[in-house]
């Protein structure tokens, strides 16, 4: 891969790790779910950069789409904020 793609994927990986850290620290579970969707979407782009388009499509459709929807439905049925 070209050096430009490598730097792009470095930026994407940093974005992914930041998103994961946001999931850890936030108290609002809705924010956590949306941030985990961001992590999954960035992961799909990384799969595409690693020449795995099949996996990228699956990850984008499932990880960023369906899983997020399921989590949001569960939050609606339970509670939105994390208590200590």
């Amino acid at each position: 891969m070209a050096p430009f793609v490598l730097y792009l994927s470095l930026a994407l990986a940093i974005l992914m790790i930041v998103g994961a850290i946001v999931v850890v620290v936030t108290k609002d579970l809705l924010v956590a779910v949306i941030a985990s969707a961001v992590v999954d979407l960035v992961l799909a782009i990384l799969f595409y950069i690693l020449q795995a388009p099949d996996v990228a499509i699956t990850q984008a459709a499932i990880g960023a789409g369906l899983t997020t929807a399921i989590f949001v439905v569960v939050l609606r049925k339970t509670e939105r904020f994390e208590d200590d």
């Binding site: 388009p53 499509i57 459709a61 369906l66 399921i70």
Partner: protein, 236 residues
């Protein structure tokens, strides 16, 4: 607090050993064939066109070379969906949830997006042997179309018995295709339809057929799963 410290120390140890183990795997290196033994990935890539007629090597592996494995995976998916329905049947919601009308944008947008989602999903699983994608993402895209419908119209419901019948028929078709291959060619899921010209839509024998079946099965399973999850929310 002491627990958090303990966990952090544990994570540092695990991370250190994972890092040193991964450092011994070269990134981006050629997969070499050792002597007479070929790397299985190289074998699949070199022979996929001659042996299966499929252009997409990943699809050929998932459906033909490792077809039995995929049958098991579809079974796992079915078991998980059934288990979810069984577990959720334990709970009947007692609380009243506030009902909100879906916004106008959602309702109007869904009218246009739902057919598009169905067409895109069908395209993705019909062209599984030619382009990236296949039955699993295609089925999930169809299910997300139904998810939009669920969100836009509170009263909309998919007929549960119909879903079950579609899903069971798809699973039975999968096994039947496998058995026909067994009787005609002597191997379960043998490619009895011929290869065709690589790159054409009607090629690669049973790969498109099985991916259509998988797409329908995954789509109906995920739709049923979403409906089950939603249902308890919807009580008056």
């Amino acid at each position: 607090m002491i627990r958090r410290l303990f966990v952090l120390v544990l994570l540092i140890i695990i991370g250190y050993f994972l890092g040193t183990a991964m450092a011994s795997i070269p990134f981006g290196a050629e997969k070499v064939d050792v002597g007479p033994y070929r790397s299985v990935g190289n074998y699949y890539v070199d022979n996929t066109v001659q042996e299966t007629g499929g252009v997409n090597a990943v699809t050929s592996i998932v459906v033909l070379y490792r077809g039995f494995d995929t049958l098991g995976e579809v079974t796992v998916l079915f078991l998980a969906a059934t288990g979810l329905a069984a577990i959720l049947a334990l709970t009947r919601e007692r609380r009243k949830l506030k009902k909100e009308k879906p916004s106008l944008i959602m309702r109007v947008g869904t009218d246009y997006l739902f057919p598009a989602a169905i067409v895109l999903g069908s395209y993705v699983f019909l062209h599984g042997h030619l382009t990236p994608g296949g039955g699993f993402p295609g089925g999930v895209i169809i299910a997300s179309g139904f998810l939009m419908l669920f969100l836009a119209q509170w009263r909309y419901k998919v007929d549960e018995l119909g879903l079950k019948i579609i899903e069971s028929l798809a699973g039975m078709t999968y096994v039947t295709i496998g058995l026909i291959g067994l009787f005609k060619l002597g191997t379960f899921l043998g490619n009895f339809l011929g290869k065709g010209t690589p790159g054409a839509l009607l090629s690669a024998g049973i790969i498109p057929v099985i991916y259509i079946v998988i797409g329908i099965k995954v789509g109906s399973e995920m739709t049923g799963l979403l409906q089950n999850l939603r249902e308890t929310t919807e009580n008056e």
